[in-house]
Symmetry: C2
Subunit: 151 residues, 2 copies
Amino acid sequence: MSIEQDIKQSSFKSAHEKAVVNIVYTNNWLAGLQMEVLKPYDLTLQQYNVLRILRGHYPKPITVIGIIERMLDKMSNASRLVDKLLLKDLVVRHECPNDRRAVDILITQKGLDVLAELDSMQKFWEEKLYGLSEAEANQLSDLLDKMRKTT
Amino acid sequence: MSIEQDIKQSSFKSAHEKAVVNIVYTNNWLAGLQMEVLKPYDLTLQQYNVLRILRGHYPKPITVIGIIERMLDKMSNASRLVDKLLLKDLVVRHECPNDRRAVDILITQKGLDVLAELDSMQKFWEEKLYGLSEAEANQLSDLLDKMRKTT
DNA sequence: TGACATTAAATGTTTTTACATTAAATTTGT
DNA sequence: ACAAATTTAATGTAAAAACATTTAATGTCA
């Protein structure tokens, strides 16, 4: 559905305002699709993202700080997200040998298996559902990058 | 900062995946900017959005359902958002004359004043901070629209 | 070395979200 | 008209987010 229809607003003050609203709207749309896929696995979006970060480093572990640095939302509580993943046996945690303050987190085989299952569904809505060509997807990324350039 | 730098990931599996991550990232970036502006006014993003919806209908009131229909995030609890705005005297609430189930919500002069103040700051980061031309902003909206077209 | 600052992670607390349920008013169908 | 279904809003609730504080380990440097 178009934004205008969905939020019952027919005009925006500027192209920029419309783009901003469209980004927020599209983000919500994307989150909805992803959560639908994740729900049966009892994973939240944030937990899923942490899992993917851990897989990105497998078989090397990564500290909580390392996770935060790679998270899109830096404000969320990585410690507690890891707690939740621990309860599901998707990660293991042990003291970092060279810095006893830090904690090494490693994704388990079970975690990798869950992600592997999710990959196929992820692919489904990332490739099939999209009306964008690859070139257009790149163009979209470039525009977003440019939007964030403040100087 | 570029996404790659900020989340310390140098490659994406596909242009689509990168675009998705970029949307989420940009959305967080936008929310951060907005919240910075809203914080001194003790308003959350959602409350701010509800206020703007109410202004959009001023001087006509609008019901809670009407608010929900116009919100980007349909899942959030409009009743409680209105409660919060009531506490700050930014809106008033009274029974809808032609349907006693419904409740008419109207933005107050104080609410309008707050929004007017926020408008100028909003404008600041919507126009000055952006590296995008108007044409590019439109192009961005079009690409997002196209991305959401599933059929 | 030893005081002080910094870093890493966990924990506490309040607010917000997501979702279900409830309660009252209205609409529908017979 | 009246029972059943639907709509509207509020409320209950468990979980999560936002943000500050705490605890322990490490780093800095006079």
